[in-house]
């Protein structure tokens, strides 16, 4: 399958000498949801801004839906929609005129039906005649999405879409993203809400200090790096791990009140059955068992902290 977006050695060094982005190589497939994770200042917005034509790269090429973003910038930009992180709006415009303006700015004729559909999907239609300055932050976020979708882009960038929005809107946005994916739109979202990536992404890229340090399918990543953990709450505290259990990967926690066993999330042989049998054999009584699976957040924190 031909990628809908190819980033080929794209890099950015500012005039001050600060290298915001080391050469990035990345292919995004049509219809996938790609989550770009990274802490603040990692280079996520810089990369998106370069693709959208807002920041000039110092090296590399980008092909969007078959169009080079520099040489065929007009063709490339028509296929891209951008929802920036900040709520940049024209305070004194009405919601409807602002969305209609965006569509025409991208070279498409007015289409009231399409605009109405987008606005209804985003629960914005009731506010169509309202001045933007009267909208709440959440409604402004919806407006930004409506503007980005007004020209029917094939690639949609969501830069920190959940920044400052409430739980309800976040759920609504996730639902909208799934609908867009079903309609064939490719979605690239940056976030540092790991929950967002875990909920929606097909693939995950981790960027740290301007370098794309990992790209993996989300499920593969969790399988590869995910860990599970069994915590055994003991009836009686112990001072040390008994010699009978010494060969297991156990740690004594909670001032000797708990034993913790860490094992590979996808391993067939977790060691749980063996541990329970040997606890019984050793006469060690326990009152509770609890298992936890490491989240994408744990993996992300681990990766970023290891980045050079």
């Amino acid at each position: 399958m031909t990628p809908i977006l190819s980033i080929i050695g794209t890099a950015k060094t500012y005039a001050s000498g600060v290298q915001a982005l080391k050469p990035v190589y990345l292919d995004i497939m049509p219809g996938e949801i790609f989550a770009l994770l990274g802490p603040n200042g990692a280079g996520k917005t810089t990369l998106i801004s370069i693709i959208c034509g807002i920041v000039t790269p110092t090296a590399g090429r980008i092909i969007a839906d078959g169009h080079d973003v520099v040489e065929d910038w007009r063709g490339a930009r028509k296929t891209i929609g951008l929802v920036p992180q900040e709520l940049h709006t024209d305070a004194f415009e009405t919601v409807l005129s602002s969305v209609s303006f965006s569509r025409e700015l991208f070279g498409l004729p007015p289409n009231r039906n399409h605009i109405e559909k987008i606005m209804r999907d985003l629960s914005l239609w009731d506010k169509k005649d309202a001045m933007i300055k009267t909208l709440s932050g959440g409604m402004k976020r919806r407006l930004m999405i409506a503007k980005a979708l007004s020209h029917e882009p094939r690639i949609l960038f969501l830069d920190e879409p959940s920044a400052g929005v409430d739980v309800e809107l976040r759920r609504d946005m996730w639902s909208l993203v799934r609908t867009l994916k079903a309609a064939g739109v490719t979605i690239i979202l940056t976030t540092h809400y790991i929950e967002e990536a875990e909920e929606m992404a097909d693939r995950v890229g981790v960027i740290a200090k301007g370098e794309l340090i990992l790209v993996e399918r989300k499920d593969d990543l969790m399988a590869k790096l995910g860990k599970r953990r069994l915590t055994v709450a003991l009836s009686q505290p112990m001072d040390a791990i008994p010699p009978l259990l010494a060969d297991l990967d156990l740690t004594l926690e909670d001032s000797g009140h708990s034993l913790a066993l860490t094992f590979d999330a996808k391993s067939d042989n977790s060691g749980i059955a063996s541990l329970i049998r040997r606890l019984n054999e050793a006469g060690i009584e326990f009152r509770d068992l609890r298992t936890e699976e490491s989240s994408l957040e744990d993996i992300f924190v681990s990766l970023v902290s290891e980045a050079p």
Binding site: R77, E86, E93, S102, G107
Partner: protein
């Protein structure tokens, strides 16, 4: 050519202007009317004719230009500075809009507003003084060309300015004084030789003189030179805009 984008930007800018019609149209018309009342009707009736033209009629072209030049610069600079300030410039930069198309939208709207203001003031002046227009087609052409030239300059100013204070400095501290000293209320031939020669370094002299020639057929400098200066300003501003978009100066990092 992205005609939809040009139209969208143009309508957006015009709508903003009509939303504040009291300030954008009535205010300059009122202030210019006061000039006509004071200098045209009250003081003007006691002044001698200049080149066979009554003083009240003589100042009509200069007063129109005073407002048109200021309006062109402020409207165009505000039009592009506002999205830079509010952050909505991201949409223009990420849209399939060429520099030429952006300029046609923003500058076209700013120039349209100035032409409208100029024509309204021209009609208002008739309430206070009698005047003739010797070359009406050239007058309208000169009005349009001047509006475009100074709107282009305003567009550059709007990108150059880092804040609202800088944005107001050029119209208030440079353009208005130069317009007052550029022959709005007098012919530079009335000045002593030294000041007359010094005035020739003021580009606004050529603009007001050219516009006045369209009314009365006489001017301080040749009409060809006036058109040349206005063309030159347009060309210089267009080259500046082309360079700005090519390098991304003050627009892109």
């Amino acid at each position: 050519m992205n005609l939809y984008a040009i139209g969208a930007i143009y309508r957006f800018e015009m709508a903003r202007w009509f939303r504040t019609i009291m300030g954008s149209l009535l205010s300059p018309v009122l202030s210019t009317s006061l000039y006509f009342i004071v200098f045209g009707s009250a003081i003007g009736s006691r002044m001698t004719d200049i080149d066979g033209v009554s003083y009240g009629a003589f100042i009509v072209p200069g007063l129109i230009m005073l407002t048109v030049l200021t309006s062109s610069v402020t409207n165009a600079s505000f039009g592009i500075h506002m999205p830079r300030w509010s952050g909505t410039i991201y949409e223009l930069l990420s849209a399939p809009v060429s520099p030429l198309e952006a300029v046609l939208g923003y500058v076209g709207a700013a120039a349209s507003k100035s032409v409208l203001i100029g024509l309204v003031i021209l009609a208002t002046a008739r309430l206070f003084v009698d005047y003739e227009i010797a070359h009406p087609i050239l007058m309208v052409s000169f009005l349009i060309l001047t509006s475009i030239a100074f709107s282009l300059f305003g567009f550059v100013l709007g990108i150059w300015a880092d804040g609202w204070e800088k944005l107001n400095v050029v119209p208030a501290l440079i353009l208005t004084p130069l317009t007052f000293l550029g022959g709005t209320f007098y012919s530079i031939t009335m000045l002593p030789s030294f000041w007359q020669n010094l005035s020739l370094f003021n580009p606004i002299v050529y603009v007001i003189s050219g516009f006045r020639w369209c009314f009365y057929g006489s001017a301080d400098v040749s009409i060809g030179l006036s058109f040349g200066i206005v063309f030159g300003l347009s060309l210089a501003s267009m080259l500046g805009i082309g360079w700005i978009f090519k390098t991304g100066w003050k627009l892109k990092s």
